[in-house]
């Protein structure tokens, strides 16, 4: 033990003379290992760690898959009565719950916050064994058809909106005019099964009976909703496929009965998909996690190569000291132990920094990746993190120590003492140096290229023209806080007064009583009256001022008029993509389209396509394909407004809330968001990807640059006396620079070939991920990557050389100033 302490004291005494070396190792290994620990923990959580629910292997999500007459998938979503039928049948499942997700305003709260809501049957929290901070979860008294208005709050909502009030239980909250009694608060460590999208946290839970589906929707088998979900625990001994076989006919038969009179669904069928809840929750995040791990492993390899170079340079520096130790009896083992003490100390310091950075990484991921990666809220240090930390510390300490002692030719150490410091007694062969350069180039090329490609795709989406303006436009959606809904006639004067008062605000430039192009869309089944061809474009009801406000050009025909809205005329405007779907030449003005009612709609105009980020046409995976869209005139009672403010001005939610309550106290602000913000949010994944890949690409490039510089600089240092000799016999700067470049070119070219091999291997293993990237557009990326790596290499060749070639030759020959 004393020996060990003594060895480490000596190592520290030796190291602290080289603060630059310590700092470089610490930062390089600390940052990369921090990223590694962070990503390893994430991978463990996503790929290995079971969900925190009892018997999670038996938890499955059932989904309704609607299949069209051509056997194509039309939608994966429930109809309301279909879901209730499945729930009531209890077939295949021991316990099951149904859920409807929505949003609502807590109007009884002073700030009237918009919250995420879920309407569930009591079995959900029983199946998940949800931990409670206080109170109780839903029980039989809140089961279907009991109409018992109670609510549960999430821990964060209780803390944020109710200041963690100790007497929250039995308090009442009002949503949509219904007063709910709070019966419980979920615990902080409750993990929600995120079935309605990654990162969506339900803030208020209410019984199923109060879900916002209207009475017609509750009866209609033709009304498909993406917000309805089913989660259950399979009966013992029932497999996933057995459950699908059992449930499909049960659901299909009932659905066929329900749509028997609807021509549109002729030839359609329904099958049940039963998927493990973990698979639904994780989605394709597993591949993101694996890609992240691959990227970070690449970083670690580059960092490892860089630090290897540094340790080799340090060993070269310590050669004389080791020779003296060998001369007085130190064996090879003694030299290894001394080196291990140094590498161990450095790796220990690096791993402490890495753990700190990993903790920061967890925080950053929880703050920013919540909507991309599931379960990030569960990220924390666990035995896997600490185990990985210990493992990498030991492995890297041993590796660097072994590498350093491997380059020492013990038998040649004595000659070092005899050569009076002149000449190179190092044992790192040219071949080893060339291998290091080639591997550095290969890794850097692969990683820089991969990051460039991801960055390019993300930037392309971010910068893609959207086809309309969002500048100074906000969307206002009204909330009606009463169950006493006004009739259309009652609503008209209220909306007219609200519109008038909004227009009178000094900050407001204009108002359009429409949803924004970024919301309000629904898929609608349409039929060409003549050909009887059926289509499912996106449909939105808009006002006659809509296209003008967002500057979406009308390319043919006419816009809606106020009269169209007042009289609810059956007219329609389509976009170019839908026009082309209807008729190849796109000339569709005057065509009649049925939307299901007795009177068809007449197409009166065609507008240019818009490109809402991440919106793809129904049934298509091609993001570049135009999305077919249809516009109809909305009624004057519409509760959605676009508010265009004057440049440099703004309107507050509070101001609007007061304006609405002055007109009618039953109205409040449901949401008021700047269109720019909605657009940015819809690009969240792309922006995050762009920032992450840009940072990673810069980091990789920096590390690769440092690594290449390190090994080339080290190689040049080793050739100092050779350079001196060449200068002595007349070599000029040009000769020497050309020589160093041409000597390293072979290794760099091998590195490029190596990167092709790495790509080929990656393609074999991950072809489904790589295939979409393979097109002619990657050519400029390849060229840019190669040029960048070549520039770094040229710099790394020249920069270390200049200290020798710009000084008198004797400087190189003597070995000192």
């Amino acid at each position: 033990m004393r020996k060990l302490i003594l060895r480490h004291n000596q190592a520290w005494a030796s190291l602290k003379k080289k603060p630059g070396f310590i700092l470089t190792v610490l930062l390089t290994m600390g940052i990369t290992l921090g990223a590694l620990l962070c990503v390893v923990t994430l991978n463990y959580l996503l790929l290995v760690e079971p969900l925190p629910y009892p018997e999670q292997d038996r938890l499955f999500v059932a989904e309704h898959k609607l299949i069209g007459p051509e056997k194509e998938t039309k939608a994966i979503a429930f109809t309301y009565p279909g879901l209730v039928h499945l729930y009531k049948s209890k077939e295949a499942f021991e316990k099951a719950s149904i859920m409807a997700y929505s949003q609502d305003v807590i109007v009884s709260h002073p700030s009237q916050p918009l919250v995420n809501t879920a309407y569930v049957t009591p079995e959900l929290h029983q199946i998940l064994a949800s931990p409670m901070a206080m109170g109780r979860m839903f029980e039989a008294s809140e089961a279907m058809d009991t109409n018992n208005p109670v609510a549960m709050l999430s821990y964060n909502t209780w803390k944020k909106e109710f200041s963690g009030s100790a007497d929250i239980l039995e308090q009442k909250i009002n949503l949509s005019g219904i007063s709910y009694r709070i019966i419980g608060v979920l615990a902080e460590n409750f993990v929600e099964a995120e079935l309605d999208g990654i990162g969506r946290e339900t803030q208020v839970w209410m019984p199923w009976d109060y879900n916002q589906t209207g009475e017609r929707g509750r009866q209609s088998f033709g009304n498909i909703s993406g917000t309805l979900n089913f989660l259950g625990q399979l009966k013992e001994g029932v497999s996933q496929s057995q459950a699908q076989q059992l449930l499909s006919p049960l659901v299909s038969d009932r659905w066929q009965e329900g749509v028997i009179e609807m021509d549109f669904f002729k030839g359609w069928s329904v099958v049940m998909l039963v998927t493990p809840v973990k698979e639904v929750m994780l989605g394709d995040s597993e591949s993101i996690a694996v890609m992240l791990l691959a990227g970070v492993m690449g970083l670690v390899l580059i960092a490892c190569a860089n630090i290897s170079n540094l340790f080799m340079a340090r060993t070269a520096e310590k050669q004389r000291q080791m020779a003296i130790q060998a001369a007085i009896g130190a064996t090879k083992k003694h030299l290894f132990q001394a080196m291990l003490a140094e590498t161990g100390l450095l790796m220990f310091m690096s791993i402490i920094l890495a753990l700190v950075l990993a903790q920061i990484g967890f925080f950053v991921m929880q703050e920013h990746f919540e909507q991309i990666l599931p379960r990030v809220n569960e990220l924390s240090f666990n035995p896997i993190t600490f185990g990985s930390a210990v493992l990498v510390t030991v492995v890297f300490a041993l590796f660097f120590a072994k590498l350093s002692t491997w380059m020492v030719d013990y038998r040649s150490l004595n000659t070092t003492l005899q050569s009076s410091g002149k000449g190179s007694g190092l044992q790192v062969s040219k071949k080893v140096r060339q291998v290091l350069i080639a591997s550095q180039v290969a890794l850097a090329t692969v990683l820089v290229f991969a990051n460039f490609s991801l960055l390019k795709d993300a930037v392309k989406t971010i910068n893609a023209p959207i086809g309309f303006t969002t500048t100074n436009i906000s969307t206002l959606v009204l909330n009606f806080a009463s169950t006493d809904f006004p009739t259309q006639e009652e609503r008209l004067p209220i909306m007219a007064e609200i519109k008038e008062k909004l227009e009178a605000l000094p900050q407001v430039e204009s108002i359009s009583q429409s949803p924004s192009p970024l919301d309000g869309w629904g898929v609608r089944a349409l039929t060409d009256v003549v050909s009887k061809e059926r289509y499912t474009p996106f449909l939105n009801g808009v006002s006659h001022t809509y296209f003008g406000m967002i500057k979406q050009p009308l390319v043919q025909g006419d816009n809606f008029t106020l009269v169209d809205r007042q009289d609810r005329n059956n007219v329609m405007i389509v976009n170019q993509s839908f026009a082309k779907q209807l008729k190849a030449d796109g000339d569709v003005i005057g065509m009649k389209i049925s939307v299901g009612g007795p009177d068809p709609f007449k197409i009166i105009g065609i507008v240019k396509d818009i490109a809402i980020p991440n919106a793809t046409p129904t049934g298509s995976d091609n993001a570049d394909a135009g999305v077919p869209r249809v516009y109809t005139p909305n009624g004057l009672g519409s509760q959605r407004f676009m508010v265009k403010v004057k440049p440099g001005m703004s309107v507050s939610r509070e101001q609007l809330g007061k304006l609405l309550s002055d007109v009618d106290s039953r109205y409040s602000v449901y949401s008021f968001d700047a269109a720019d913000d909605i657009l940015t949010k819809s690009l969240f994944v792309e922006i995050t990807t762009a920032v992450t890949t840009a940072v990673l690409a810069s980091l990789v490039f920096l590390l690769a640059g440092i690594g290449l510089y390190g090994i080339l600089s080290y190689g040049t240092q080793l050739r100092r006396f050779e350079l001196g000799a060449r200068m002595a016999i007349g070599a000029t700067r040009k000769h020497l620079v050309s020589m160093i470049i041409s000597d390293n070119t072979k290794a760099v070219l091998i590195g490029f070939v190596g990167s092709v091999v790495l790509f080929a291997l990656a393609y074999i293993g991950l072809s489904e991920y790589i295939q979409p990237f393979l097109n002619w557009q990657v050519l400029p990326m390849i060229v840019a990557t190669i040029v960048l790596i070549m520039l770094v290499t040229l710099f790394a060749c020249y920069w270390p050389l200049r200290q020798y070639i710009n000084k008198p030759a004797i400087f190189s020959l003597r070995g000192s100033d």
Partner: protein, 236 residues
């Protein structure tokens, strides 16, 4: 009177560190004529190698003048100095300074390949073969320096120094890394070259070999303590 190959006037060389100045050479006055054989000797640290480096344009003086064939070369640029070294000066070092990765042939050919005006391949081959023959290494052209003995390596270094037909050979401790038999052979080769007309300036601390020169210069603490010519008495 012919122009001396090298002429040194009031040459000083000072090495400086953070807190100390060291006068390596002080007020050196020296002329080397065509065909001379000069030895420079003195104790370790007296400035022998520094003087040789400055005369060979490997280093620059702190002050004073250095003329090479009548041209002032005291403050040449690095590129100009490289050109003169390549064309007019041959070096032989204690460490041999051969390039391990090149064959003996390529080591010798190297100065010709650095020449400002490139020579034809057959001329290079002829010149290298001639020099290999001159030092008795004809059969060793394709070997690598690491496959040779110390004496053989030094002979290759001599061939390399001669190949560009320089005006002067500057030799720094040529026998420092050799045994006595090889040392004797090298010194005999050098003497023979001088007899054939090559101008030689040899730095050595070995009195025996210093005595072989026709003019002997003795340095002490950076100053010329005295010099003797063949059969002359010491000239203070």
């Amino acid at each position: 009177m012919t122009v001396p190959i090298i002429k040194v006037q009031q040459l000083d060389k000072i090495f400086s560190t953070d807190d100390m100045l060291t006068h390596a050479l002080q007020g050196i006055e020296l002329e080397i004529q065509q065909g001379e054989y000069i030895s420079i000797s003195g104790p370790s640290g007296c400035g022998k190698s520094t003087l040789l480096s400055i005369m060979g344009l490997l280093d620059i003086p702190t002050s004073g003048k250095l003329y090479f064939e009548g041209q002032d070369v005291s403050q040449l640029s690095i590129e100009e100095a490289a050109e003169i070294r390549n064309q007019k000066i041959g070096f032989i070092f204690q460490q041999f300074n051969l390039i391990d990765e090149l064959s003996v042939f390529d080591n010798i050919a190297l100065p010709l390949r650095y020449a400002k005006r490139p020579l034809r391949l057959n001329i290079i081959n002829d010149k290298v073969d001639y020099c290999l023959n001159l030092v008795g290494m004809t059969s060793m052209g394709q070997r690598k320096p690491t496959q040779l003995s110390g004496g053989q390596q030094q002979r290759v270094a001599i061939a390399r120094a001669l190949v560009a037909e320089p005006s002067i050979l500057l030799v720094d401790e040529p026998t420092g890394n050799l045994d006595s038999r090889n040392s004797d052979q090298i010194m005999e080769t050098l003497e023979l070259l001088n007899m054939q007309g090559t101008t030689l300036c040899v730095v050595t601390h070995d009195i025996r070999y210093a005595e072989m020169a026709k003019r002997k210069i003795y340095l002490l603490d950076g100053q010329i303590l005295g010099q003797t010519s063949f059969n002359d008495e010491c000239i203070p």
